[in-house]
């Protein structure tokens, strides 16, 4: 109970797709290497009861075996694992609610607890089905094993990405052909699972990168879907490499919010300047000093680069409760006190569990090839966009993914009832992306939650809207009133409190 926030902070990050991981290639190895292969032994086609991380109850696990390469059905097979959180009172046995995880590279099954909590209302009458997309979680995970490094002391700006990528690829080539881990092929796995389990219709919920999967599902298997929710929308027309702009926008909104809050503005009147000067200072000269390790408490060495500093801020923007600590952390950093940044940095280290190989397969095949000169220019204009692109441009030539066809970028043209959710404060998928995805959807509603970050259903009342859509089967009666309720959290004014002292407040 005491550590609820810790858990929630982790979940939020885990639940939300983090394109950020790209930035962290060569940085989060120690966390990634822990990602374990499924500890389940199971025979094909059979279901058995199992326990999932964070869920105390027994649920059903199973798998469906598919060829890794659809054009070579007799070559290597891989097992697509799934988990069913059985409906409490199954009133719609022919339907399932499918939550698709983000990343790319997150395991849906590992996030069962979060999905279970968020969609408890839906589970009252329908099964929740979680499928580990090929290359993630238990389904032939493509993760990269790196040597253990000291995350605090090492210099992330001097990592040889190309070398690390090469090493990862040669490790993975023993068990996988990485070119077969594209979104399009993965969607056909989902359809195979649907058929194997005998569901007639799916209700899809795709978050972040999962929204791309959901849209591809709409494109390829229209008949199999009853409703779709796209949350933190990545439109088909958009290469995700435009994310730099979105991060900058979100950082700017943080400054704005602080300025509009009387207490925050009083405490940190020059927040943006603090941010810029700290970045500049760390850019010129990374901070080096003795600190106590945030986890072990042992005295150790910290090397704080600009990239680590900004990466930490960026990660903090994903969840609204951590976001509330950022103005204080930035202000203190500018004064030379990096304790809060250190604390934030340490929790970003433990929260990531992306399958980096699968992540690379998707981004290198589906996003880098669609990078137009215009988009590249835009990306280069932003620090975040620029550094991201740098890593990717080093990684992808090694990965050598075939590029998707031009038609991949066509907007989804569909009459399936679709709910699109965007968070105004989202540091990854801004509301404008949701507008793009809406273009050719004839039965769709797009709601923008003014106080939500990435993943609207996981905060605010977005989950209730999803439940309503699933139950009613159309978007007609959906209403965004509840999203507009101002339930914003106050910013931390010091290391202890969000509430200003009464005496000060009266001034």
């Amino acid at each position: 109970m005491q550590l609820w926030m810790l858990k929630s902070a982790r979940l939020m990050k885990v639940n939300k797709s983090q394109w950020a991981a790209l930035l962290f290639i060569g940085l989060v190895q120690s966390a990634l290497s822990v990602a374990a292969q499924a500890n389940l032994t199971n025979t094909t086609g059979e279901q058995s009861s199992c326990y999932l991380k964070g869920l105390s109850e027994k649920v059903l696990c199973g798998m469906v075996t598919v060829p890794e390469n659809p054009n070579k059905p007799n070559a290597r097979n891989i097992d697509i694992h799934y988990a069913i959180l059985p409906a409490i009172k199954n009133q719609h046995p022919s339907e399932a609610f499918v939550a698709i995880a983000g990343g790319p590279g997150q395991s849906a099954i590992d996030n069962a607890a979060g999905f279970n909590r968020t969609f408890s209302k839906i589970r009252e009458t329908r099964d929740i089905l979680l499928i580990d997309q090929r290359g993630t979680g238990r389904s032939n995970i493509l993760n990269c094993e790196f040597d253990n490094i000291d995350a605090l002391a090492f210099n992330d700006e001097t990592v040889d990405n190309q070398k690390e990528t090469q090493k990862c690829l040669s490790d993975l080539s023993k068990k996988a052909d990485v070119t077969q881990y594209s979104s399009d092929i993965a969607v056909s796995d989902f359809e195979a699972v649907r058929k194997a389990l005998g569901y007639q219709k799916f209700h899809l919920y795709g978050i972040s990168y999962g929204s791309r999967m959901a849209q591809l599902y709409m494109r390829h298997y229209t008949q199999s879907l009853a409703t779709v929710t796209l949350d933190g929308v990545v439109p088909m027309q958009q290469s995700v490499l435009a994310i730099g702009e979105a991060i900058d926008r979100s950082v700017e909104l943080l400054f704005q919010d602080c300025r509009q809050s009387k207490a925050c503005d009083q405490a940190f009147p020059e927040l943006k300047r603090d941010y810029l000067t700290t970045s500049k200072r760390l850019h010129d000269q990374p901070y080096q000093g003795k600190v106590n390790d945030p986890s072990t408490g042992e005295p150790t060495h910290l090397l704080l680069t600009k990239s680590k500093f900004l990466g930490t801020i960026r990660m903090g923007l994903y969840s609204s409760n951590i976001r509330s600590l950022l103005p204080y952390a930035i202000h203190q950093a500018n004064k030379g006190n990096y304790q809060s940044i250190l604390g934030l940095y340490s929790i970003t280290q433990s929260g990531l569990d992306l399958a980096m190989g699968m992540h690379a397969s998707v981004v290198c095949g589906e996003d880098l090839p669609r990078l137009t000169p215009e988009l590249k220019a835009k990306a280069d204009a932003s620090y975040f966009g620029r550094s991201l692109l740098q890593v990717i441009e080093q990684t992808c030539p090694v990965w050598n993914m075939p590029a998707v066809k031009a038609s991949f970028s066509h907007a989804i043209d569909s009459a399936i009832p679709t709910l699109l959710l965007s968070g105004e404060l989202d540091p990854a998928t801004p509301p404008s992306w949701g507008h793009l995805a809406e273009e050719k959807l004839t039965h769709a509603k797009h709601f923008i939650a003014p106080y939500a970050t990435h993943g609207v259903a996981l905060q605010s009342c977005g989950n209730k809207l999803v439940a309503q859509l699933v139950n009613e089967g159309n978007v007609d009666k959906l209403d965004d009133k509840c999203l507009k309720k101002d339930l914003r959290r106050s910013f931390y004014l010091n290391a202890s409190s969000v509430e200003p002292l009464p005496a000060k407040a009266k001034e």
């Binding site: 005491q2 027994k58 409490i88 009252e124 600590l325």
Partner: protein
């Protein structure tokens, strides 16, 4: 022997079916009891679940606006009007001051914890306050450069063996009780009618004057009453199967589903109980001087199986009860529902005891029907 038994049984059944009271007893119970149970479950569900929007009184909310908004995001708001719960949260005057100094800031929760209806709502407010406190604790640690994981030295991973059904085992116990009880209620009226009633109407001596053995007479009556009891049970099961689907179990986090398999098993396991109930009721009624007296005696006998059944529902002394009649079979049914393997030894023992008891009572009745005292109600 068989032919006569058949004739006797047929007449008993025709007689029973034409007896409005006997038929009503079956119908009332078979239809009424599942509906009544559903009604009770509806009420329970309403009582135990906290409303999605919980209105309480929050005093001095200006001292902690962030906390108030946090509570609101969890559906707990300051409100007025009808659905206001008798829960008051007062935020201390020094809340902000204590917060800023890193000291525990006080909020006071005023409510009557003994009030069942409020319990879930009080828990919910407490959980929300805990949640806020934990979140803040974690962020305070982060702000000081400490990973909050260090204050969670032990992570307890709970692997709950419960199944969807076993979560509702108490409610299921009550439901099974009401179903098993059908065999006691549904045959009762005919049991009295065909024994004390038969004597009261003077047809008993006529029957005994015919070339029959008393065993044939007793067996035919036992079979007839058992048939009625089992018909009542089957109807109760079928009505329950239909009625229980309406109850919004999902709001309690489990479901009670009367499956086809359960209907079959229920009938099988209740058969010995039905035989025992019939023989017991006939036995008691044969010793009563009149219909009315028989009714009184039988209501005394209903008490015992009721107690056994309730004790089983509450899971009192299961090790002893599983060997006894009624509770043994009920235990087996509950195990089946929970998806547990049925422990055959106690079930068989319980069935055996049930049947031995029945045989004893049948022999007793045979003897009684040869006794002048019983025949003429002396």
């Amino acid at each position: 022997m068989m032919k006569l038994l058949n004739t006797l049984l047929k007449k008993e059944l025709v007689d029973a079916i034409r007896d409005k009271r006997s038929v009503m007893a079956v119908m009332y119970y078979a239809i009424g009891s599942p509906l009544l149970m559903c009604g009770i479950f509806f009420m329970l569900i309403n009582k135990f679940s906290s409303p999605s929007d919980l209105n309480i009184t929050i005093k001095k909310s200006q001292n902690a606006p962030d906390l108030v908004r946090y509570l609101e995001s969890r559906g707990i708001t300051h409100g007025t009007g009808e659905d206001l719960k008798a829960i008051t949260l007062t935020i201390s005057h020094d809340f902000a001051k204590d917060m800023n100094q890193g000291k525990p800031a006080t909020v006071t929760l005023i409510a009557d914890n003994s009030e069942q209806k409020l319990k879930s709502s009080i828990n919910r407010v407490q959980r929300a306050l805990q949640g806020y406190s934990s979140e803040m604790a974690s962020l305070r640690l982060i702000a000081r450069g400490i990973n909050p994981a260090v204050v969670q030295p032990i992570k307890v991973v709970m692997e709950d063996q419960a199944t969807k059904q076993s979560k509702g085992s108490f409610i299921f116990g009550v439901a099974i009780l009401s179903i098993i009880y059908a065999v006691f209620i549904c045959g009762m009226n005919h049991a009295i009618d065909t024994s004390a009633g038969e004597r009261e109407r003077n047809s008993l001596t006529l029957l005994l004057s015919h070339p029959l053995s008393t065993r044939q007479i007793v067996l035919s009556k036992v079979l007839a009453v058992t048939t009625l009891a089992m018909t009542g049970l089957l109807l109760t099961l079928l009505v329950s199967k239909a009625a229980y689907t309406i109850v919004p179990w999902q709001e309690l986090g489990f479901t009670i589903n009367v499956s086809f398999e359960f209907v079959v098993l229920g009938c099988l396991l209740a058969l010995p109980i039905a035989i025992m109930a019939s023989t017991l009721q006939l036995f008691v009624s044969f010793f009563a001087k009149s219909f009315k007296e028989a009714q009184t005696y039988i209501s005394f006998t209903l008490f015992v199986p009721m107690m056994l059944s309730i004790a089983t529902s509450y899971d009192l002394a299961p090790d002893t009860l599983q060997w006894l009649p009624v509770s043994g079979q009920q235990q087996a049914l509950m195990d089946f529902i929970k998806g547990k393997a049925i422990d055959m030894a106690p079930l068989m023992a319980s069935n055996l005891i049930t049947l031995l008891l029945s045989i004893g009572l049948i022999l007793g009745m045979e003897k009684a029907l040869k006794s002048e005292k019983t025949i003429f109600g002396l």
